[in-house]
Amino acid sequence: MTQHQPTTTPMRGSKAQVLSAIIWPSFIFAGIANSVFFTFLEPLLIAAELGFEDSGTMEMYSMGFFVFWALTLCTSICTQYLLRPLHNSRQIRRGEQP
């Protein structure tokens, strides 16, 4: 009757593992992207272009970092979402083996 028993082994690592796998790599690569971006482009010129006249270099670096982080976060979340096991949760609740 093994097929009627619900699976008891966790499907994935802990929540901390899933969250870390999303937040941490995206953070690192946002930092790299930000450094490369502002190496080649002058932050103050971009500030002027976008109409942020009050923004200094520090502000532009910070904002740039968060824009990049938002993008890389989206990428990580998508990847994590697509990596979820393919069988649906109702099957699992019914106790069928995936």
Binding site: M1, Q17, S20, T39, T57
Partner: protein
């Protein structure tokens, strides 16, 4: 008797006894499926000993450097400052610009190769003694023990209902953690904006920029979260090095290992018992090695990826061995080869070690050479995009360029600008500039060419910038010169 379910023709959903399908209620049995693994809190016991002392030295040195370096100034200049507002990086008397990003990349490659090299030789010493995660966790554990006591007391406190004692101790712990984390955040931001000014802005006029405050809190929060709460989970789930370090291991790499031949079979005994007669090995099964482990593993199960090589288990086991009058080193730094084949010392000179050393030395040499031969001037040329070209009243073709000169030298320089590449080419306006040390200058120049010499619509010309005092300081840049279609 064979299991009916092995027969592919039998519907597994049909109950073999009653021959009926389970109804909807039964199928929706309220069985909770655990999608996530639950984390059990680890209470590492405090440990003393040789390796614990080395770790303390590591912690004191590295944290000392981090918290003090930013306060040291030479000639009024912070010696280590990645000045983001000014886009200049001051590193021990050198000034680097964003254009020098290349050096930073090479420096990171060197750091990575160095890590590989050390890993091959000594295993995870980086993890055990120098990694910021270890260093900060060590400090946070120390504060935790200061307020909550050691392992046993902490476990008791966590089981206790909330009362004055628990509230006071936990509150004190978090207070210490938060103050330390905020100071860490402040120090971190102090490497990107001059720290003395930052300090004055916080204490004095309250003109602290929103972003600066935000980064202090952000980095403080990251420190608090990673060293206070996440701890070993950072090593397990977030650290890529922890995952791939095994690729650098071979049989001669130093690892923390339990001598199974000597230790088994483990078991309790009285001091002075003839354990060999009882058929016992040297392991007294006191489980102290498990209690001190910051990642909560049992080293006696063999080499595990969770092991950060901190050697806390070596220290504590040696103390037990001493008490039992057994030789030390039941758990020790050793190599797989020594464990399997016996023998004395681990081999150091192996092909893998030599290859890493060779690559490391050549990259370092290349970096030194390129820093030494770095020309401290940089020139950017941007063609005026508003017009392709202009014809002057005597029929010459004119292009306009914006020239940006960065003097990366500490001293002021006088430069001469010239242009060549096509016959009759002529530079109009100023051609001599003087730029302060570490300064930049933007200038607009006009270049004229007789259209008779232009064989194409787009022509390559070269700008040459040369220092008057030191002709070795020069830079040549290519640019496009546009003209009418040749007749």
């Amino acid at each position: 008797m064979s299991d009916k379910n092995d027969d592919p023709n039998v519907d597994p959903n049909v109950d073999p006894q009653t021959g009926q399908r389970p109804n909807h209620e039964q199928r929706q049995a309220p069985e909770v499926v655990q999608l996530y693994k639950k984390r059990e809190k680890i209470y590492p016991r405090a440990v003393t000993g040789l390796f614990a002392m080395w770790r303390k030295i590591g912690v004191a040195t590295l944290l000392g450097l981090f918290y003090l370096l930013c306060w040291i100034e030479i000639n009024g200049q912070q010696i280590l400052l990645f000045d983001l507002p000014a886009r200049k990086f001051y590193i021990f008397g050198f000034t680097f610009w964003p254009q020098d990003f290349f050096y930073l990349t090479v420096l990171l490659i060197i750091a990575a190769l160095g890590l590989f090299f050390v890993t091959t030789l000594f295993g995870r010493v980086w993890c055990g003694y120098a990694c910021p995660q270890t260093v900060y966790t060590e400090i946070f554990l120390w504060m935790e023990r200061l307020t909550e006591g050691d392992r046993g007391r902490q476990m008791k406190l966590d089981k206790e209902p909330w009362g004055a004692n628990k509230f006071g101790r936990k509150g004190a712990k978090h207070f210490l953690w938060i103050v330390f984390a905020l100071w860490t955040g402040f120090t971190f931001v102090g490497y990107f904006t001059p720290i003395r000014e930052l300090g004055t802005r916080i204490l004095g006029d309250g003109s602290l920029g929103g972003w600066e405050a935000w980064w202090i809190f952000f980095y403080g929060f990251a420190t608090y979260g990673n060293a206070g709460w996440m701890r070993e989970q950072v090593c397990l789930y977030m650290c890529p090095y922890a995952r791939f370090q095994s690729a650098m291991f071979d049989k001669d790499t130093l690892i923390v290992a339990y001598d199974e031949k000597r230790g088994e079979s483990r078991g309790a005994r009285k001091r002075g018992d003839d354990h060999k007669a009882k058929g016992l090995g040297d392991c007294v099964n006191c489980t102290l090695c498990v209690q001190v482990c910051p990642t909560g593993i049992d080293i006696r199960d063999g080499l595990q990826y969770q092991c950060i090589g901190c050697a806390a288990c070596i220290d504590v086991c040696d103390q037990v061995m001493e008490k039992m009058d057994y030789p030390k080193g039941l758990i020790s730094y050793t190599t797989e080869r020594v464990l399997e084949e016996g023998g004395e010392r681990p081999r150091l000179l192996r092909p893998r070690v030599l290859i890493y050393a060779g690559v490391l030395c050549s990259v370092m040499g290349a970096l030194l050479f390129s820093v030494a031969s770095r020309v401290p001037v940089e020139m950017d040329i941007i063609r005026d995009r508003h017009a392709l070209y202009r014809t002057t009243n005597i029929g010459l073709i004119e292009n306009v360029y914006t020239i940006k000169i960065y003097n990366m030298d500490q001293n002021p320089q006088d430069y001469t600008l010239s242009v060549n590449g096509v016959e009759t080419i002529e530079l109009l306006g100023e051609s001599e500039f003087s730029v302060a040390g570490g300064g930049a200058l933007t200038h607009i120049v006009n270049v004229r060419i007789d259209p008779f010499e232009l064989k194409k619509t787009s022509n390559t010309i070269h700008f040459l910038l040369q220092s008057k005092t030191n002709p070795d300081i020069k830079q040549e840049e290519e640019a496009r010169f546009l003209g009418p279609a040749p007749r």
